[in-house]
Symmetry: C2
Subunit: 181 residues, 2 copies
Amino acid sequence: MFVLGIDPGLSRCGYGCVRSDGPRRHAVAAGVITTAIDESVPSRLATLRAELHKLVSELHPDVVVVERVFFQTNARTAMSVGQASGVALLTAVELGCEVVEYTSNEVKLAVTGFGGATKDQVQRMVARLLDLDAVPKPADAADALALALCHLSTAPWARPSWPTPSRLDTAKGRESQVARP
Amino acid sequence: MFVLGIDPGLSRCGYGCVRSDGPRRHAVAAGVITTAIDESVPSRLATLRAELHKLVSELHPDVVVVERVFFQTNARTAMSVGQASGVALLTAVELGCEVVEYTSNEVKLAVTGFGGATKDQVQRMVARLLDLDAVPKPADAADALALALCHLSTAPWARPSWPTPSRLDTAKGRESQVARP
């Protein structure tokens, strides 16, 4: 299964594509789409739409996973995140992809086994699960890969055989091998 | 000038198109686009996009005016309104329209002369300014017409010669002729 995660945002929209091969997961692509803050919101949404359209058309994912966004303390950001998520959901469904949404806590729980994990813990788990030498950068790309991994672990046919959180918490030796941002 | 107002929403998205002819304004079209609440959010966004695309393509407005949305008390609604506004802004700009956003208070101020006007006061002013026998229904359509009227009054080349709010406040005789919902 080929899953594209999208961490929606108007200034920075992260994406990360993961292919599952039995219990193994491979990061295929990860990055961030940015839009110029000195342009109008409609133009920025059009840029985001064009880039996402290109990305989904090129990658042909089976499933597109978008973070389900809720109220945030910064009302202005919450609205632009909502607008960006609308454009991401729309683009994915128009290109015929299955579209799934997960909350941030669902992603944390699926990736680290703990719904209250920090961003840093999630990102280091992403690097570990994808067998990467370092945490993917920028952070938005790592977050998007986490979304894709969340779906692969949550979808019942694809539960991966990664270490349990309790083992990870104590595996300090291995954890220190993960590159820090 | 031909202005299309859009009051964004996922369940109900109001639209209202006003043509200005010197100081007079004519309501050309008004209505609401609804999406089925039992469908997925991505499918509903795609439906909204398709309907808005059809509407803008048919009407060919010079300007599309979308309500600028901020945080609302219901976080779930705020996000779906944000998603719908993103789709509306995107559709308008992709179809080559000038796109303008106004806040609800800017619309109230422009249409009634008082930024703290009630929804009912705004809607009755819409009926009066457009010389309609009754307040347009549903309310979302009236709100969208108010957005279009706001732009026509705010754009400096098109300020209409409608009665001042102080005169309207005392013109009880005429106000009673406006049909109530």
